[in-house]
Amino acid sequence: MTSIGGVGETNSSISVRGMWKVYGPKPERIVGSELADLPRKQLHAQTGNVVAMRDINMDVAPGEVFVVMGLSGSGKSTLIRCLTRLIEPTVGTVRIGDVDVTAADKETLLDVRRNKVSMVFQHFGLLPHRTLTDNVAFGLEVRGVDKTERRRKANETLELVGLSEMGSYRPHQLSGGQQQRVGLARALATDPDILLFDEPFSALDPLIRRDMQDEVIRLRHEVSKTMVFITHDLSEALRLGDRIAIMRDGMFVQVGTPESVVVDPADEYVENFVRDVPRSFVVPVEHVMRDVDGEAQFSGSVSLGTKVRDIVKLVASSELPVEVVDESGRQVGCVDRVHVLSLIAGSEP
């Protein structure tokens, strides 16, 4: 992924190196020792420790949406909380922009949390004793913004998520979907560079969840923020992620683009995840493209990156291959009907 921000803009990427989190007594001695390789249950019975995260390395480029996926208990929440040290990592370094978060003193850390990063929580985490406006204004309030200013900004942000006029309600008067909109507004109100989402939509029903995902996609296009997005829902990961990391027992077992994860799962665990995904939904045409071999006639022309399922109509309407062009319209290859069909049927071309 390349940087979207222009030259001179601060580099707001996240970079994590060698990060471990071990719960329980004397966690340091577990890191990197043979103990860490024991099965979970045995380690817990023997020492009382749980290795929630082991040797995590990751880089998130500015403007990228980095999705972390895994089963319950795989350490996703731990990971995302360690990024701003809501949970202290046992070892390892986290850099956010040009700040070494893990080495930062109290002021720097507060500055990062107040101005650079905001988080959206799984169960919304709205404060029940505050009105919606004051919930959204919370981040500004701890930052020390005065009352009228922060309320104005909060109401503006509420409008952005479609909840204008409801500022004086209390959280419990809202539906789950509305509550999470407030959660999103609260994270946006401080105008951070980075947004962290910890399974924000998993408590919502499917239709509302889709709405909210659209909201995130819209945000990405409009404000271009760096996002780390935790989910255990594959279709959500595929919809939103520029890259997906699959986590298991505290480790990344695979990191890659959606199509690489679907097409080329690193192990059985990942394969189990992606087995039911129709490949044509995620795989782009370049995956089934071949060089042009003298043909001059095509049934149509599509650009690089088009998903295979979107050319199904074209290849069905004619025997001819489909031309593939790059951004500048230059021909780079073509796709045959047989390759599209075999991809859909599940066998490699």
Binding site: K41, V112, H129, R143, R170
Partner: protein, 652 residues
């Protein structure tokens, strides 16, 4: 396995099989009886006597002689005087408000916190105090209480915050709080009288100290119940520690802190009226005088003043306004400051109008509640002493309870060799939870022996056990019934609600007139006092049994009886044991207080300690120590029974 986290040693009973347990139990009882017969009348040997009486008495004399000469004693004394100064100002303030202002203030607080209904009930209760005839004396009680509560909150809330936020603080405070919770009121008065002398300062300080633990406990609990995610939200936006506390944790703990305030007020009230025995000159004194002169009219009138004050205070501190879902908070309600200002204005107007209309003194309207109660008592006296079918009448009951139950039981305890009693209690402790509890029981009862008031302790213990048995026999069936029957629950609720806020002291009034002086009224009062929480916890326990297992039982064709016995009762066991634990502590507290009305035993000794410190301080201190030790053992044992069912269920 996850059990490895909880290294709980199973109770010895759990290790033995069920049959073995029974055989061993029967054998132990037989051996016990034989040993009891053979070793009767072995008194506590003199080498065990710690001479606490003598030492405590001389410490007291030293304190009395050195007051004014020793900086430490003077410092304590001036603290007491400072607090008393506050109380005097408080009383002046209440008098300045006049009765109109006080009633209006009650109404305003009730209205702003909960709404019309609560406000009306509270204000009417406050108004009724005057109708009973002791307005000004009740204001004295209130002023003492308000000051004690204010200081208790000032001390308790910060301590609660500390222990709510820090594990180590919680660990350090826990044993103190646990002990404080089981100590009966008299125990607090003894040391206070030793340092402050007889009078208002001792009463306020005792009340204050008595009321701090619930403030600490509930504040800490409130903070611990703040959801993790809320704290994380606070931190994730970069709150500093104090910001987190002020903007997230305390607001979310508010309900619990307010509940703590309610408890603090009710406990303080309970102690203040008892403290009237050291000359606070408040309404409790009138109750005492009525009891001593057997003047039913006086005792009941003054007693009802306490009842009404308690109801008013309870109402205005428990209510909570609730928002209707789907609508925002009305604008006029959102501006709290303006609301309170308006309320204040109402109070001021009310106070001034008393002056303008020159009704500063509470008018001479009276309701003859005392004389009405007296005529009921007189009627009962005449008609219910003897020959009532089934129960036989108060007198016959009195004789039966004392002659046929208490005295035989008491003399059995007293005549048993002291070490046998210690041994039996230790054995019970061991069986209940293992050697730790056994050790505690052994030490505590040996400690009681060392206080040189063994016979008195056995007297108290016998009264407590009999009252507990009666209470449990009543509370469990009633609780079970009301846990399964909606109408009974609804019918009982107002009684239970009211009974729970009344101080123990007022229960002494009716029983003295019905059963005369002696141990019976104390035990009966203890039963009446302990019943409501007992009933409530039993019925709550039954109702909290999840529906799923009950439905499962019914689907297998269980009759309601089977469902109760096989499903509900076992699952509610813990809650029922908690109820019994509460019953025991409340019975003990009341039996001690009943020393005042002829219950004798440790209660009377403790009473002497703070009413006649010059000659009885030593005895009082020794009795106080015995009471605390006794309370601790009873508390731990019943708690252990409540937790035991867990261990038996655990697979090994």
């Amino acid at each position: 396995m996850s059990q490895a986290v909880l290294p709980a040693a199973p109770a010895p009973v759990a290790l033995l099989g069920r049959t073995t347990t029974r055989v061993v139990g029967v054998a132990a009882v037989i051996v016990g009886i034989v040993v009891f017969k053979v070793t009767r009348q072995q008194n506590v040997p003199s080498w065990l006597d710690l001479h606490v009486q003598r030492h405590a008495q001389s410490v007291y004399h030293w304190i009395v002689q050195n007051t004014g000469r020793n900086w430490f004693l003077d410092a304590i004394k001036s603290i007491g005087n400072g607090i008393t100064w506050c109380q005097k100002r408080g009383l002046t303030f209440l008098r300045l408000l006049h009765w109109t202002g006080v009633v209006a203030l009650t109404f305003v607080i009730g209205y702003l916190r909960a709404g019309w209904r609560t406000a009306t009930i509270a204000a009417a209760s406050m108004f009724a105090i005057g109708l009973c005839g002791f307005w000004d004396l009740t204001m004295v009680t209130l002023s003492i209480m308000i000051v004690a509560v204010a200081f208790a909150m000032l001390i308790g809330v910060p301590l609660g915050i500390w222990s709510g936020l820090s594990e180590s603080a919680e660990r350090r405070l826990r044993p103190l709080l646990d002990t404080a919770q089981v100590m009966p009121a008299y125990v607090y008065l003894i040391p206070c009288v030793a340092f402050f002398g007889i009078g208002v300062p001792a009463a306020i300080v005792a009340t204050l100290v008595y009321a701090v633990p619930p403030a600490v406990r509930l504040t800490s609990l409130g903070l611990r119940q703040v959801p993790v995610v809320s704290t994380e939200v606070g931190m994730s936006f970069g709150s500093t520690g104090p910001q987190l506390l002020r903007k997230v944790q305390l607001p979310l703990a508010r309900r619990s802190v307010l509940l703590g305030l309610n408890q603090v007020i009710m406990m303080a009230f309970g102690l203040v009226v008892i403290a009237s025995q050291i000359g606070t000159g408040d309404v409790g004194v009138r109750v005492l005088a009525g009891l001593q002169k057997l003047d039913a009219n006086l005792a009941f009138s003054a007693g009802f003043c306490i009842v009404f004050a308690a109801i008013a205070l309870d109402r205005i501190t428990t209510g909570e306004r609730s928002l209707k879902p789907g609508r925002p908070m009305p604008k006029w309600m959102a501006d709290r400051r303006a609301l309170w200002a308006a309320g204040l204005a109402v109070v001021v107007v009310a106070a001034l109008s008393a002056k303008v209309l020159s009704v500063q003194q509470y008018p001479s309207w009276r309701v003859g509640i005392g004389s009405w109660a007296k005529s009921v008592i007189d009627w009962l006296d005449k008609h219910a002493r003897h020959g009532v079918p089934l129960i036989g009448g108060t007198d016959s009951f009195n004789t039966f309870l004392v002659r046929d139950i208490l005295i035989p039981f008491r003399s059995m305890l007293q005549s048993a060799a002291w070490w046998l009693v210690v041994g039996v209690v230790t054995l019970i402790g061991w069986v209940s939870k293992g050697w730790r509890l056994a050790l505690l029981c052994a030490l505590a009862f040996t400690g009681i022996a060392a206080m040189h008031n063994w016979d008195l302790a056995m007297d108290t213990l016998s009264q407590v056990l009999i009252a507990v048995i009666i209470s449990v026999c009543l509370a469990v069936p009633i609780g079970v019934w009301s846990g399964r029957s909606r109408w009974l629950e609804t019918a009982l609720r107002p009684f239970l609600d009211t009974a729970q806020v009344l101080p123990q002291f007022v229960y002494l009034v009716p029983v003295v007139f019905l059963f005369r002086v002696g141990p019976t009224p104390g035990m009966i009062a203890a039963v009446i006092y302990a019943l409501p929480p007992g009933i409530r916890l039993v019925s709550l326990g039954l109702k909290e049994v999840p529906l799923a297992p009950r439905e499962a039982a019914i689907s297998f064709g269980a009759t309601p009886r089977q469902e109760l016995i096989k499903v509900q009762l076992p699952l509610a066991f813990k809650s029922i044991m908690l109820g019994i634990n509460q019953v025991i502590l409340m019975v003990l507290a009341t039996v001690i207080i009943a020393g005042l009305i002829g219950g004798g035993a440790l209660g009377l000794e403790a009473l002497g300690g703070f009413t006649k410190p010059n000659i009885k301080m030593g005895d009082g201190v020794a009795a106080g120590v015995s009471i605390v030790l006794l309370a601790m053992v009873l508390d731990r044992l019943t708690q252990a029974w409540g937790n035991r069912s867990d261990q038996e269920d655990r697979p090994t």
